[in-house]
Symmetry: C2
Subunit: 630 residues, 2 copies
């Protein structure tokens, strides 16, 4: 499938990624960005390649940033040829090639800093994680350019790994401390057809969490020392997803990104191999993550401590971690699950991520990034007070652990992969990505003002009789959704979230109009942090109050539960162009006698103004909240 | 002043401390309590005394537990002679004497474990803290029995300290990392009349936080190593109250107990010396702590991280630390402030502590203890989830760091010290402690059903013409407070919280009737965690909802803001005898569609039942909350 940008919401955002974010990230990786802490990621490879003198700097997983950036850049090349960018990648690949050891091993941390200690700490030290990201980059670059050098490098590394890890007696029975190699090996298998990679991915999945526990053994061997602190520390097997065999897992626990990368690999393998027990585990873990542990914004992983899931329903708003990468990873997981089944509920969650946490992870100028995406920000507290240091009130330029920015870049530049898929039944159009998608069987063009307007103007040029599946979002009432095919009204009775249209060969104009109106959302009765509160949505977007538009403190505002919410016209001058919500409500207007008193709070009418959550923290530093007292 | 127990609320609680808690704590300190982790505190002294072979075990401040327990036991002896208990103390004092070094030094951690490293880490290692608590014990035991051995031991240690620390060139210019010696040296000065101790206390206060910073110097010298982790760590000067000279401090910051012990010493010295700048700092710090950083229950220190104050108005309920010791320490601070001025606002805060956090720190059976006193408890989350591990849903038997239980014991057994004082103007009756207080100038007896009833029946036998000051609590409206003196109505126009009665020589019957009725309390508009919520009070007690009496989850309950709250008769069978509040309200009764949905929550009428906060967690393990949605 070949995708060509249009000029709608997503196309403009993708263009910002290709034109601004990808060059910016390259300059950071090359340590050339003024005022930004040097990444040293390329420098590490240069030193490992013998092209320069120096020491390793950065995180144990610093190599992975290069893999993710190349992957994003490769997708960008698929969207638009760019010889200069291709040359940059080729130059980096040349360095990577020189940094590879004769036996295929490739990891600058172990080559430069911890010589002779390869594969001694799979739990903490990310060798397989870096392998995975470089491999994803290599696969994408091969797809984009047909060039094989990077792919060959990574195959050599994969072949080497296959001699070290595996079920055989003479190999280590280990698996990645940070899952990623599983899904990357699957992609390498798809790209090369080499069954060995599929087998190794499956081994990692099957072996994980079995007894005797590999990580426990490693930990005992190294004197119970934790790599990060250099001191003895208790094992946290949930953190590394090694607490039980994957098929027994029912609850999403531990480090959220690790979990979701693992689940993605599991779903990939389940779909590829028809492994039903593995598929059932994926179903249960999906259900746990999205139906009991997800913020309304799509955020996943409620606590900063271990960047981890908390227990069911525990979703604090101000201390939320909700790592951008976890939301990106949920899109991966959903896409892999879609290989198991077509279900709009999966795509609803992708849409939730795409319109909320993921764009919030990037400034409107595409030059600053959020790692953490809280649902409440308080000046003087967020980013400062104990337990809230991670919840920064403004986006930083970059991070020492720089996983999130390139993760968003690679997702955005490959958004077409999440927006449509060809199945045996037909073409499934799952996200409303404006532009043109060329499939073998049809060309589909979407023109739309979505998400600001509900009209989706599709032109489908079917090269043969062709079924097309149009998604009706879970948030849209089918009765209020209009559909015409070549001008004739069609029924909107979605099954599993999709309306199936049987199109004959030829060109068809399809118009679906989604009911765009402000909606009030309430949390499940088990969610204590949102009790008594309401959130506001418009289309796929969750809205929030920001201090720039409302009198602070925001916790003293109350929304009227019944009065009509109005939505503004599109305001092109505001926050890159948005529609704002106006919500009738109240503001506490009294000044209390002391810290606690019998004086009843006094409320006066106050119209509340809400903006899309993704656009927060792009103006003055002010308070923000998603859940508003009602 | 000599106090004799009555048979009211406080007398019964004090009796539980003397009859149950003090023997229990001794058995723990002697490692004789079955099913309780050995304390090893007495064992450490025995080994240091050469009476036994073995190693030091426990915290670096393990010695302090002995000091605090002896202090509590000494007060108990003042209430009631007990030769067996006195013998126990004498035996311990004999061991302590043998553990003292020839030069007067006394600390089992340094004598046994860190030989030769005395006075090398004042910041972390609590030598002066242990000195302080042992000294307070020695002073109390001298007062109770007239025996001088323990006092002499501690004077020898104080004399030794005076040769090591001080302003002179050849001495260390240091001060306690955990304040306590300041107030203890002041007590030692009062008991012995030796000005040297007053001078040393003052040196510690004046020297603290000055430049060059002593703790920074120590830290550099030991390679920036933190004692607790054994690794280099950043200095946290606020934690140890060394961030600025005390007279410049305006905000209560850092470790709450350290802060409040320091402020107590400061107020003691300010009152003793007439140091006005020091008194002004005390005023500002009092104001900061109680008017912007205190929970409605009297809890102080909002975060577990560093057991510390958070910024103004930041008072999270579920993750609250609110250490029992901090509330005990506030009583110390208030008592010291009362030497500077008579102000009912000080005593109101003592009353808040005495009826809320402090009794909550002990089970009704006086055999289990809370260190941490949250205002919201959630089953499956409190005590378990990240960031809430400290907020235990049930009281443990003891703690590795066992500061709180003996702190409560010594406060309870010396409660008369906080309930009345003789001043130049007359006798100030600040708390409604039932029983008889014998002053030089008068004998005052109080019979009362307080806090369940408002009638306070005083009999004052004045040995001379005598002014008596009766406190009218800040929570009681003076217009609704009735007062008769010898049957004749008297005006209730309190000044600074006190009604002054000029009594002639002879016996007088005074009846004050406080208006006992349920009250709704609201937090200041700056407190985000309590926005939209109400708390309930009856007399000095804050009430809470517990899952034992209300349908869970409690966050789905709402109180009617206007309907009448009723108070039950005294229920002797419930929770050691309480009156409960019945609050008309509502309960969310719907089951949501999924995690988030447009379905509006449905509320049905529900009467809420509230019990005194101090009595929570004495039945089945259930949810609890103080702040209720309104």
């Amino acid at each position: 499938m070949k995708y060509t940008l249009g000029n709608g919401f997503w196309s403009r955002r993708i263009l910002k990624v290709t034109e601004k974010m990808i060059p910016l990230q390259l300059s950071i990786l090359k340590d050339e960005a003024p005022g930004t802490e040097p990444s040293h990621a390329i420098e590490n490879f240069r030193i490992a390649a013998g092209l320069k003198e120096g020491d390793f700097h950065g995180m144990v997983f610093q190599d992975s940033d290069i893999g993710k950036w190349i992957e994003a850049a490769a997708y960008s090349l698929k969207l638009k040829k760019d010889p200069a960018l291709e040359k940059e990648i080729d130059d980096i690949v040349d360095i990577i090639e020189k940094a590879q050891m004769p036996d295929g091993y490739l990891n600058t941390f172990y080559t430069l800093k911890e010589k002779g200690r390869r594969w001694t700490n799979l739990q903490d030290c990310h060798e397989l994680y870096c392998f995975g990201h470089l491999t994803e980059g290599a696969v994408a670059y091969h797809q984009a350019t047909g060039k094989t050098k990077f792919l060959d490098i990574m195959c050599r590394f994969a072949d080497h790994i296959d001699t070290v890890l595996g079920p055989e007696e003479n190999k280590l029975h280990g698996y990645p401390g940070h899952p990623e190699a599983e899904l990357a090996l699957y992609r390498l298998y798809l790209e090369t057809g080499n069954e060995k990679y599929l087998k190794l991915s499956r081994f990692f999945i099957d072996q994980r969490g079995t007894e005797p526990n590999f990580f426990r053994g490693e930990w005992e061997k190294r004197g119970q020392i934790n790599h990060w602190t250099g001191r003895p520390a208790a094992l946290n097997l949930k953190y590394t997803q090694a607490h039980m065999p994957v098929r027994q897992q029912k609850e999403a626990v531990g480090h959220a990104v690790r979990a979701l990368y693992l689940y993605t690999g599991m779903a990939d393998i389940a779909a590829q191999t028809g492994d039903e027990t593995l598929a059932a585990a994926c179903e249960a873990l999906w259900d746990s993550a999205v139906n009991r542990k997800m913020y309304i914004t799509g955020g996943l992983g409620a606590t900063a401590m271990g960047e981890a899931f908390m227990c069911d329903w525990e979703l604090p708003n101000d201390t939320a971690y909700a790592e951008t990468c976890a939301s990106v990873a949920l899109c991966f997981f959903a896409r892999a699950m879609s290989r198991l089944k077509t279900d709009g509920a999966l795509d609803d969650m992708v849409e939730r991520e795409l319109f909320n946490v993921i764009p919030a992870g990037v400034s409107l100028n595409a030059d600053r990034f959020y790692y953490v995406n809280p649902l409440e920000a308080v000046q003087g507290v967020s980013g400062k007070e104990k337990g809230l240091e991670h919840a920064l009130p403004a986006r930083p330029k970059w991070f020492a652990c720089a996983c999130c920015p390139p993760n968003v870049a690679r997702l955005m530049t490959s958004l077409y992969e999440y927006s449509a898929r060809e199945t045996g039944d037909g073409i499934v159009l799952s996200q409303y990505l404006d532009g043109t998608m060329d499939f073998d069987r049809a060309r589909v063009t979407l023109e739309t003002g979505y998400p600001w307007e509900g009209a989706l103007h599709y032109t489908v040029e079917a090269r043969e009789d062709q079924d097309v599946f149009l998604r009706v979002p879970g948030w849209a009432c089918p009765e209020e959704t209009a559909l015409t095919v070549d001008g004739a009204p069609a029924e909107v009775k979605p099954e599993k979230g999709y309306v199936r249209l049987a199109l004959s060969r030829g060109t068809h104009r399809i118009l679906m109009i989604l009911p765009m109106k402000p909606r009030r959302l309430y949390a499940n009765e088990h969610v204590r942090h949102d009790a008594g509160c309401v959130a506001f949505a418009f289309g796929p977007m969750i809205y929030c109050l920001e201090g720039c538009d409302n009198p602070e403190p925001l916790w003293n505002l109350k929304a009227d539960p019944d009065a009509e919410i109005t939505v503004s016209d599109f305001r092109s001058e505001l926050l890159g162009g948005v529609r704002v919500l106006k919500i009738p409500g109240y503001r506490r207007a009294d000044t209390a006698d002391g810290l606690y008193s019998e004086k009843k709070p006094v409320y006066v009418p106050q119209t509340l103004t809400a903006i899309p959550y993704y656009a927060w923290a792009n103006r003055e530093e002010k308070d923000m909240r998603v859940w508003v007292r009602e």
